[in-house]
Amino acid sequence: MNQNSNPKETLTFKEKLKVEGKRLLLTIAVVLVICQIAFYKESFFNVAKFSLSFLYFSLLPGYALMMLLADQLKPELRIILSFPVGLAVYAIVGYYLNMIWPIKYLLVIPLAVILTCGLVYYYKNKKITAKENIP
């Protein structure tokens, strides 16, 4: 974060991230709880493995992309659309990369999407913050 930026603006950006983070964590928790109840005979470890793996390919990259491309949308709409967005981006990129890489290497795609979106989001907001700070 830019050290010279207005503390109020910095806080707003931080707050924004905090709110988004909370929303994301709440969604993950809800999915985990729902899956644990639906599959109550299964160990929590396996439920977590299944749910988190699913979320890794769907919600997480999808949410990162939707934060970047569509942050005007209502949060609940953004969350529900994150699932198909994440899965679609993975499937398309994965389908073409699979011509050269085996499946096990494709597992980095969601992480790469999340990191790239995170970086772009950070610099986009930093730029906006810096512009707003010009007297």
């Binding site: 599959f39 299944f50 198909p84 679609a88």
Partner: protein
């Protein structure tokens, strides 16, 4: 109660409903477990087909690579294996294999659960689409979706219409994004969704075309000022779709497309049933009476909501028109046939709006006289939920499905103990008519038909009219599914179909697989045949459990043939 909190409570009610839907659906079919000792919940051949494609993607690491056992030797495999492309829709297998790779759980468990999660998400997407018109109506619509878990609707999952369900999931997501508020890069998301819908199940991209047409048509009538911008957005996304699907386009059109898999037929419903099914439709075709006592309510609801939407010139008009047209397709001269009936599996989700509309109408009439609206709303959702659930319950646990634990144990024995290029002969069992259940054997096999069984005798090694399975049958050779070369794919498929029934000698196979769960008469002859092979030292029993006996041929070729001659 303020509106903000009420909205939040509504959202929690939706989440609660989705949880119940998952519990009663995926929970019940899988006996509330994620991991199973064998594939669970798969009741028909198609489910195993999709499962096998995903399993092969996982095993080989590549979508486009056929298994090594599709070839006769290691040398042949090394030479030819890179020469293929998968023409089965790649989206579901890729996602399944990837989640399996990360989670380390069984692929067959992940596969069916993933499809059910798509259905749960479809219910949610449909809610958000309807909420564009009215949140309360959308909430009242939810309970009807529970009907999906009962009767013929549910066989779309258990019988394996999985690619269709995947395509529909992305179709609904595309519709929601088109109907949502415009944002700067919406055309990019739209392009990704259109491409994935096409790749997941090509026909759904056609349905999407119909929706976009209706969307632009209603925009032309009601929002003419925005039309040029909306058109521009569609053009922008279409330009992006082209490079995204360019590679896949010839793969699908020169294979499944050329073989008529789209099943687009210009017939009326009755013509279709008479010409294709001799007047009696197959038992999985869904008719309106599957809606039980809700038929009248649904018909009334369609008119009620349509009236509301026209009156308010609401943006939901294209969606509701789309659902109505799609639902009536089998009765019109357009896309009748299997695809028209396939769509009906999702009637409880798509037509839930009409149920919601009727309940909403009653609610609107009553709420005038009741000061406290939220408790009334809660009472209504509870009442409608209870009413539908009474018709849906009890939901039986179907059991393991077409392969149980002991069947799968025999499969696992084969994987562990036989060589990749070994050939199997499977003795007759009527259950093997659902032929894809044998795909998970992961070997090259010949399966006995009823004719083979009838002609099978102890005096000769010849087995007549056995079905030869080709493990590379979901792949096309690269030159047959590329843009620039002339495709001979259909000719090859026709030739292979003709030659897929052949006469072989029992002396040419490496293993003999005897299914034990069988009709008594079939069982007796099969056992007698295997016993003869064992007594004559041709075959040695190497595996036995309550589902199957596996014999290994210790004698092959001439040495084996001479035993029959003597």
């Amino acid at each position: 109660m303020d509106w903000k909190n009420e909205g939040r409570i509504t959202l929690w009610l939706v989440i609660l409903f989705l949880g119940v839907f998952l519990f009663l659906g995926a929970g019940k079919i899988s006996d509330h477990q994620i991991t199973h000792a064998s594939p669970t919940g798969m009741m028909a051949s198609d489910a195993f087909t999709h499962n096998w494609v995903a399993q092969n993607t996982y095993d080989t690491g590549y979508i486009d690579t056929p298994p090594n056992y599709a070839f006769d030797s290691k040398e042949e495999a090394e030479q030819k294996v890179g020469n293929y492309k998968l023409f089965h829709p790649p989206v579901l297998p890729l996602l399944t294999a990837s989640i399996t790779q990360l989670s380390g759980l069984n692929l067959y468990d992940i596969n069916i659960l993933l499809v059910f999660l798509f259905i749960v998400l479809m219910v949610a997407l449909n809610y958000f689409i309807l909420a564009k018109f009215n949140e309360t109506l959308a909430l009242f619509s939810l309970p009807l979706s529970l009907l999906f878990l009962s009767g013929k609707f549910f066989i779309s999952l258990s019988w394996g219409w999985w690619d269709f369900l995947t395509g529909e999931f992305f179709l609904l997501a595309t519709i929601l994004i088109i109907l949502s508020e415009k944002f700067s890069f919406r055309y990019i998301v739209l392009a990704v969704f259109i491409s994935i819908t096409f790749m997941a199940h090509g026909v759904e991209a056609g349905y999407l075309g119909l929706f976009v047409f209706l969307y632009l048509f209603f925009s032309f009538i009601f929002r003419r000022k925005e039309l040029s911008l909306l058109l521009l957005e569609q053009v922008q996304s279409f330009l992006l779709v082209i490079p995204l699907v360019l590679y896949f386009l010839p793969v699908i059109f020169k294979t499944m497309g050329a073989m008529g898999y789209a099943q687009v037929r210009a017939l009326t419903n009755s013509q279709f049933i008479t010409q294709i099914y001799n007047g009696s439709p197959p038992n999985y075709f869904v008719y309106f009476n599957e809606f039980l006592y809700f038929q009248g309510v649904i018909l009334l609801g369609i008119f009620v909501l349509f009236y509301f939407l026209i009156k308010k010139r609401n943006e939901l008009l294209p969606y509701i028109s789309f659902v109505i047209i799609m639902s009536l397709f089998p009765y019109l001269y357009f896309t009748a046939g299997e695809r028209g009936f396939q769509w009906r599996f999702l009637w409880p989700i798509y037509l839930s709006f009409s149920f919601g509309a009727v309940v909403y109408l009653i609610y609107s009439l009553i709420k005038r006289f009741i000061p406290s609206k939220f408790p009334l709303k809660f009472l209504f959702i509870l009442g409608t939920f209870t009413t539908v659930i009474v018709f849906v319950l009890p939901l039986p646990f179907f059991g393991a499905g077409l392969i149980d634990q002991s069947d799968y144990a025999s499969y696992l024995w084969i994987h562990k103990n036989s060589n990749t290029y070994d050939k199997l002969f499977i003795l007759y069992s009527p259950i093997n008519n659902q032929i894809s259940r044998l795909y998970l054997l992961k070997r090259d096999w010949f399966v006995s038909t009823s004719e083979t069984w009838q002609n099978m005798n102890l005096k000769e090694s010849k087995l007549t009219r056995v079905e030869d399975h080709d493990p590379s049958s979901f792949f096309c050779e690269r030159k047959d599914c590329s843009f620039f070369e002339e495709s001979k794919f259909v000719d090859k498929v026709v030739k292979e179909k003709i030659s897929s029934y052949k006469n072989i000698s029992v002396c040419s196979v490496d293993y003999i697989y005897l299914p034990l769960k069988n009709q008594q008469e079939i069982f007796n002859k099969n056992v007698q045949y295997l016993q003869y092979l064992v007594q004559n030292n041709i075959t040695q029993i190497v595996f036995q459990n309550e589902a199957a006996v596996i014999g290994k041929n210790t004698l092959k070729g001439e040495a084996c043939e001479s035993k029959f001659k003597s």
